[in-house]
Assembly symmetry: C2
Homo-oligomer: 460 residues x 2
C-alpha cells in the first residue's frame, strides 16, 4: 500500500529532521542503512537531537523491515560508544564475563563468578536489576547486609586487579543509548526484535572491557523467548556479533520452563548460591553452573576443554577456594561475611508460611510454571512492578518439591519468606496455582539443549 511521493517534506524542514525522515523512509522501504546513517540516528537520539517520535518510527520500521548483520553491528557499535568503554587490557589475564537472558531462580552468576575467579580467570561482571518476572543479580547481592553494587571505575579496576572478581551494576556512563532506547522500545512495542535485543546486550557487555563472553540463552515458559528457535536465532546472532567485535563468544541454549533450583527470590537465592559453593547445591543449578564455568575457563585459557574446565571448577568447590573467593568478594564490596558463613543466622531467614499439597492434588508434581512463580515472587515483594519500586531482600520462595517428585496431601510443597506478612497469603495462593499435579511424571528434558560458538563462521 506504500505510495512513493516526491521527497516533499524534506526541504520544508531543518537539516537534522530532513535527514532523519529520509533515514526512516529508507528503512521503511526495506533498504539497509550505512554505518554513518545508523550512528547519526543513535548519537542524535542519545544527545536529544532526534526526538522520541522519530526514533519510535525508525524502531518500528526496522522491526518490520528487518536489519542486516552490518546494520546490527553498526547499531551495537553506536550504542557501545555512546558512553564509556572500559579498557582493562593493562590488567593481566583474559577477562571473561557471562550473561543470561534471564529466568526464574537464575542465581547462577553468583556462584559462577566466584568459581571462575577462584580458578584464575578474572571476572569483571556488570549485572542488572530485576524487572518483570525475573530477578536481578544486583537485587540478590544487595540482600547481603551492607553489600554495595555501586562502584566507581577506578575502584572497579582495582578490585578486579586485586581479587580477580568484581560484581557491580550498570553505571550511567555505560551505553546510555541503550538505556534511552530500551525505555522507548518498552512503550512502543519494539522490544521483541532480535537485532535490538542482541545489540542491547552486547553493547553493555562489550563496554565492560572483557575479552570473551559466555551467554546463557534461555527459552520456555519462564523465559523472555518462549520458543527454542527464537532463542537459537538470538544466540547465533549474539555469537556472531561478539566475534565481529573481536570478543570470543559462546552460548549455551538452556531450558527455562521450571524455576532453576529450589530458591526463588533475593536472600534465598544467595543462600542457595552458597550451597552450590559448598558443593551442596540443587542438581540443576550445580550442573548449569559447572557447564558455564567450564566454558569461561576454556575461554579464559585456564582449561584446554570443557571436561577439564568442569574438573577445575569442581576442584575449586571441593577445596573451598570458590567459597573463600565469594567471601572475599562480599567483604571487598562491604557485605556482612558472617551471613555468608552462616546463612541461617540471617535475621528473617525463617519462612513466614508453608504452602501445602491440596487434598485433591495428584500423586506427583508434573510441572511448575516458572512465569507464574516469577510473577508470584514479584507480587510478594522480591521484584519490581515498576522501575522505581524497592525490593524486599527477604522475599522469596523455597520450592520443596520439583517436577517428578511424589507428593502427599497436606505435605509441605514450598516455603514463603518475606520481611512482613502483608502479601504472604496472596503470594502463597499464586505460588500454589503455579504447580501442576498428576499421577505420573514424564521424563525431565535436558536442561542444556545446545552449545553455539563461532566455529566455521567468517567475520563479515
Amino acid at each position: 500500500m506504500g505510495v512513493y511521493l516526491p521527497v516533499r517534506p524534506h526541504f520544508i524542514c531543518q537539516e537534522i529532521v530532513m535527514n532523519v525522515v529520509q533515514l526512516i523512509r529508507l528503512k521503511r522501504d526495506g533498504h539497509a542503512l550505512t554505518d554513518t546513517d545508523i550512528d547519526a540516528l543513535v548519537s542524535g537520539f542519545t544527545a536529544g537531537d532526534v526526538p522520541d517520535y522519530q526514533m519510535a518510527a525508525f524502531l518500528m520500521a526496522a522491526f518490520k523491515s528487518g536489519m542486516t548483520t552490518q546494520e546490527m553491528v553498526a547499531l551495537t557499535r553506536s550504542m557501545l560508544h555512546s558512553g564509556v568503554v572500559l579498557d582493562l587490557s593493562d590488567l593481566p589475564g583474559i577477562k571473561v564475563d557471562k550473561h543470561s537472558t534471564g529466568g526464574v531462580g537464575d542465581k547462577i552468576s553468583i556462584p559462577l563468578a566466584a568459581i571462575v575467579s577462584a580458578c584464575g580467570v578474572p571476572v569483571p561482571m556488570i549485572s542488572g536489576r530485576g524487572l518483570g518476572h525475573t530477578g536481578g543479580t544486583l537485587d540478590k547481592l544487595e540482600s547481603i547486609p551492607g553489600f554495595t553494587t555501586a562502584m566507581d571505575i577506578p575502584s572497579y579496576r582495582r578490585q578486579l586487579a586485586e581479587l580477580g572478581v568484581v560484581m557491580i551494576g550498570q553505571t550511567d556512563d555505560i551505553a546510555p543509548a541503550d538505556k534511552k532506547l530500551y525505555a522507548l522500545r518498552d512503550v512502543t512495542a519494539t522490544v521483541e526484535f532480535i537485532p535490538f535485543i542482541a545489540a542491547s546486550i552486547l553493547s553493555k557487555k562489550l563496554a565492560e572491557g572483557i575479552d570473551a563472553l559466555v551467554l546463557d540463552v534461555k527459552f520456555g515458559a519462564g523465559a523472555f523467548m518462549r520458543e527454542e528457535k527464537d532463542a537459537r536465532t538470538l544466540a547465533e546472532t549474539m555469537v556472531r556479533l561478539g566475534e565481529e567485535f573481536g570478543t570470543t563468544t559462546v552460548a549455551l541454549l538452556t531450558r527455562m520452563d521450571t524455576p532453576l533450583g529450589a530458591a526463588v527470590g533475593n536472600w534465598v537465592e544467595v543462600a542457595e548460591s552458597i550451597n552450590v559453593l559448598r558443593g551442596d547445591g540443587p542438581p540443576d543449578v550445580t550442573s548449569l553452573t559447572l557447564a558455564l564455568a567450564a566454558e569461561m575457563l576454556v575461554l579464559g585459557g585456564a582449561a584446554a576443554d570443557a571436561r577439564e574446565g568442569v574438573a577445575l571448577a569442581e576442584k575449586a568447590i571441593a577445596s573451598g577456594q570458590a567459597l573463600t573467593r565469594f567471601e572475599d568478594l562480599v567483604d571487598a564490596q562491604g557485605g556482612d561475611v558472617s551471613v555468608v558463613r552462616d546463612p541461617d543466622s540471617r535475621r528473617g531467614s525463617t519462612a513466614l508460611a508453608e504452602v501445602r499439597v491440596p487434598d485433591d492434588a495428584g500423586r506427583v508434581v508434573t510441572a511448575i510454571d516458572a512465569m507464574a512463580v516469577g510473577l508470584a515472587c514479584v507480587g510478594l515483594g522480591a521484584g519490581r512492578a515498576r522501575k522505581e519500586d524497592s525490593v524486599d531482600p527477604l522475599a522469596g520462595f523455597t520450592l520443596l518439591k520439583k517436577p517428578g517428585e511424589a507428593v502427599r496431601p497436606g505435605e509441605a510443597l514450598a516455603l514463603v519468606h518475606a520481611s512482613s506478612s502483608g502479601r504472604v497469603a496472596a503470594a502463597s495462593a499464586d505460588l500454589l496455582a503455579a504447580f501442576s499435579f498428576g499421577d505420573t511424571a514424564g521424563e525431565a528434558p535436558e536442561l542444556i539443549v545446545d552449545r553455539l560458538d563461532a566455529t566455521g563462521w567468517e567475520p563479515s
Copy 2:
C-alpha cells in the same frame, strides 16, 4: 525476526500506556484493530493522552502492516468526530464540494465553485494553503486585495444560504486530529500511505456538512502520486470511503505532468480563473473545469448526466452568470471587485522579467516539468518553504509556450511576476530548466484518464 515475548511491559505501566502498547503490538503483528481500538488511539492522541512516540510507532506499524477497509472507516470517523461536524441539512439544495489532491497551476476550484453555484448547486468549499511544490486555493484567493478566507461558522452558513457559494480555510475546530496526525506523519515518513491520505482528505471534507463530493485525483511528475496505479487506488479508496459515510463520491483521475494552464502562482492564477469565467481560459483548464462542474451538477441534481452538466456550465459562462457569481463571492468575502472586473489594473500585474528561448534550444517545447515549475515558483515566493512563511500574492509565472508549441531562439518563453525583484533571476533560471526542447513533439496524452464512482460496489 519478531519474537513473541510474554506481555511483560504491560503490568509495569499505567493503564493508558498499557493498552496503547498492546494496540501497537497487534497492528505490528498484522492484526486488524476494532473501531473502539482505533477511536481510543485517535482520541487519546488528539487529547494528548497518547504521546507522539507511541502514535509514531502505531503509524509506522499500520504503514507496514496495512489497514482493512473497516479500520480505514474507523480512522476516518474518529478523525471526523475529533472536531466540529457541520450540519447544513436545514439549508436547501444538495451541497457538493470538490477536492483536488494537488497539482501545479491547479486553480480549478476558483472558476469551478462560481460556475456550479451559478447553476444552482450550493458549494460550501473549505480549502487549504499551499505547502510544498503546489499552491493553495486560499493563498490564491487572498491575492485579491481584501479577500478574507477566515470566517466563523454562522457567517459561513449565512453566506452559503444567501449566495450559494462560500470559500474558506480550514478552521481549528474542523478535524483537529487530522492536523495533529499530519504534523506527526510529516516527520516520521508515514505520509505516503493511502489509508492515511484518504482518511485525512475525507475526514476534513465530511466535516463540512456536504452531501456529495467530486475528487480530482492527480498523478504524474507534478503530483503527490507519481504513478497512475497509486492514484487509482487512492481514488477507489476515497470513493468507497465517501460512500461508507453516505456521501456520494465521484473521482476523476487526471494527469499532472505539465502545469495546468499558463499561470502558476497566486494572483496570476486568479487572473487566469477570471479568463475561464469569461470563456477565454486555456483549453486544459477550461476542459477540466467543465468536466468537474458536470460531475458536481449531476450529483447536485441540476443535470441528468455529464453531457447536460457540461452544457449547463458552458451556458453559465456564456451568460456571464458564473463571472457575476464570482464577483459576488469576492464582494461577500471583502475582496476588491474592481480587480476582478479589470485584472490588468491590479497594481504589480506587470511582469518583472521575461524568460527567453535559449539559442541552443530545439524547435519545439517537448515537456515542462510541473514539479520543477512548482518548486521554482515556491523559490520565487509564491509558496511556502515552511508553514510559517508568508507568500507573495504577486509572485508567479505565465507560461507563454506549452508542450507541443514551436519556439525560436530569443522568443519569449515565460513571464516572471513578483512584488520585488530579489528572487526573480534565480527563479527565472529554475523555470527555464523546467523546459525541455526538441525537434518534434509527441502527441499530447489525454488530461482526464478515467472516472470512478461507486457503481457496483456494496457498502461493507
